[in-house]
């Protein structure tokens, strides 16, 4: 009999270093189209940063006792990481799973579904890191970064990339078509983007929203990244890291199980 979702969820993913071959494959493809890809992936967030930062910043003035532009820069770093990882783990991975049958080719080699899923997630996390790094760089050039401790943002973003990619991979693993991704964007991505403190602080919102935001991985990423970029003290870093790590591990576990159910039949 085919194993049920429950059966797959009970057995955790088998970890091996084989996933590196998948990551390397995607890196090789990305390198071919590096320039347009970089432009597309970080051009847009930089535009948001400049337009909202200058435009909206004039009316807003200071937020949490820093210029709005400074406040926004750290938020945009986090949201760019989320979008970068999500698009890669949704559209690109889904194309390789269905249209291109790249996954099937990999599975005919000595690779397991768990390796392929981890390789795709690791690559999507790398894309998050690339996108976020570019924006950290732009922010530094614009003088929106407090000091070299802002570099600590990068490992945080990589870990965050794993959790955003993992969550998106759950959607990819169950998706019947590209259209299905719209549910994820409307029901998960957009609310998360708006309610995680990227564009405005959560302090002014009703308590219920603030409490709800504690369940959003992006909110925790922002709470880690903003102090690191603006040179203030991080509040409860272990808690934030634990939540992001929990999402990363949990989402890989679930997405690998769902991908196994889809592919091993």
């Amino acid at each position: 009999m085919s194993a049920s979702v429950g059966d797959h969820l009970k057995t955790g993913p088998q970890l091996s270093l084989r996933f590196i071959a998948v990551w390397l494959r995607n890196l090789r493809v990305w390198r071919k189209l590096m320039l347009p890809s970089l432009l597309g992936n970080f051009g847009e967030p930089v535009l948001y940063l400049l337009a909202l930062g200058y435009g909206l910043g004039q009316f807003v003035g200071e937020v949490e006792s820093m210029p709005y532009m400074v406040f926004l820069a750290s938020g945009i770093v986090c949201s760019a990481a989320m979008t970068g990882a999500t698009f890669e783990a949704l559209y690109s991975a889904y194309t390789r799973l269905t249209q291109q049958q790249t996954w099937a080719a990999m599975l005919a080699a000595p690779m397991n579904v768990d390796d392929v899923v981890l390789g795709e997630i690791a690559w999507a996390a790398t894309k998050a890191l690339i996108n976020a790094s570019a924006i950290v760089l732009v922010a530094a050039v614009l003088g929106l970064v407090a000091g070299p401790e802002a570099l600590l943002v990068l490992p945080v973003i990589l870990l965050a990339g794993f959790s955003f990619a993992g969550i998106a991979m759950i959607v990819t693993a169950i998706s019947p078509s590209y259209d299905f991704f719209l549910y994820y964007f409307t029901l998960v991505m957009t609310p998360m983007l708006l309610l995680s403190g990227v564009f405005f602080p959560l302090s002014g919102l009703p308590d219920a929203v603030g409490i709800g935001a504690q369940f959003l991985p992006l909110a925790h990423v922002v709470m880690l990244v903003r102090p690191l970029m603006t040179g203030t003290t991080v509040d409860a870093p272990v808690l934030h890291l634990a939540v992001i790590l929990g999402y990363a591990v949990g989402s890989y576990w679930i997405s690998a199980a769902l991908a196994r159910r889809r592919l091993i039949r």
Binding site: R25, Q101, A104, L107, A108, P110, M111, R265
Partner: protein, 325 residues
């Protein structure tokens, strides 16, 4: 040494049994075909042997490894040519081979050392840096075959290797497969082309409705299941002699599919030949070539087609003639 053994291999999906208790023993160095109509369970059987589909029940050992438990270790020593080409469209011919080698854990240098011979084998040396999109169907198949050889496999599994190819490309793939067999590799293929199995394979298993209905060398299958000589009547000639066509040239649906009493071929059946109508063709089988041809010449005259019985005759006899989808 056995390359593949399977005992009681079974796969059900819901209430449908796709593979129903298959036993297989394939020797190392043998070329073995799984023959069957569409939907007979060939591909599912192959996928179970390769550890890509878990069996509902049964035991499988391939290259000494229990499957699916140690499928990864087995696949390190095997190459797989899938039914539908899944070459990587983001890469050139050469990059496809290097990338696929990496999936086997092969270092780039190791694959590059084999690159020239792989490209030459696929006759794609000139096209090494071309994108995949520009290749013809035959070239893609050859590259898929070369890709399955990046790890120098002991066992090569090919799922319908020549389906959809033109005759030239097909001949080319067959020639490559002969070469691989001479190199001592075990070849396991699924096909519904009888000619393919007859030319290439030491043994073939005919599968229908998920079961093996016969398994032997092509010549032994022919000897065991069918008369060795066949005469074919085709088109109008067949219709007339079957008595299915009336004076006006219209086909008489009433007597469709009957070769018994009333048919012009009754003298043949009376003489002990087996007469089988298939659509607009009549097949007449006999044990003795001269006797068969003499009778046909006397009764019908020229315009018939004689041929020795083939695996296709056995196949159709064992799996029936109704259309499969």
């Amino acid at each position: 040494m056995a390359a593949v053994t399977a005992r009681g291999l079974t796969r059900t999906y819901g209430t449908t049994t796709v593979v129903d208790g298959i036993d297989l023993d394939i020797e190392a160095g043998e070329c073995f075909a799984l023959l069957g109509p569409n939907g007979a369970g060939k591909t599912t059987t192959l996928r179970m042997l390769l550890g890509l589909t878990p069996p509902s029940s049964g035991e499988v050992t391939v290259l000494g490894e229990p499957i699916p438990e140690r499928a990864r270790a087995m696949r390190e020593r095997a190459g797989i040519v899938p039914q539908f080409d899944n070459l990587d469209p983001d890469f050139s011919v050469r990059e496809n081979l290097i990338t696929y080698g990496a999936y086997y854990g092969a270092r780039r240098k190791a694959v590059e050392a084999r690159m020239d011979s792989l490209l030459a084998f696929a006759e794609l040396t000139e096209r090494a840096d071309d994108p995949i999109q520009g290749l013809s169907g035959g070239m893609k198949r050859r590259l898929t075959l070369a890709r399955a050889l990046v790890n120098d496999p002991e066992l090569l599994a090919l799922d319908e290797p020549s389906t959809g190819l033109d005759p030239q490309a097909r001949q080319h793939i067959w020639e490559r497969m002969h070469t691989l067999r001479r190199q001592g590799r075990t070849l396991l293929l699924t096909t519904h082309y009888m000619e393919e199995a007859e030319r290439l394979c030491d043994r073939a298993a005919i599968i229908d409705h998920g079961r093996i209905v016969a398994c032997d060398s092509p010549s032994a299958l022919i000897a065991a299941h069918i008369e060795p000589h066949v005469v074919e009547l085709r088109g109008d000639q067949a219709m007339q002699w079957m008595g299915r066509m009336n004076a006006a040239g219209d086909i008489d649906a009433e007597v469709r599919g009957h070769a018994g009493a009333g048919s012009g071929l009754e003298p043949l059946t009376a003489a002990g030949f087996r007469v089988e109508p298939v659509g607009e063709t009549v097949l007449i089988y006999g044990d003795d070539r001269d006797a068969l041809i003499q009778r046909i010449e006397a009764l019908i005259g020229p315009g018939y087609l004689y041929r020795p019985a083939s695996l296709e005759d056995v196949f159709l006899r064992l799996t029936g003639r109704e259309l499969r989808d």
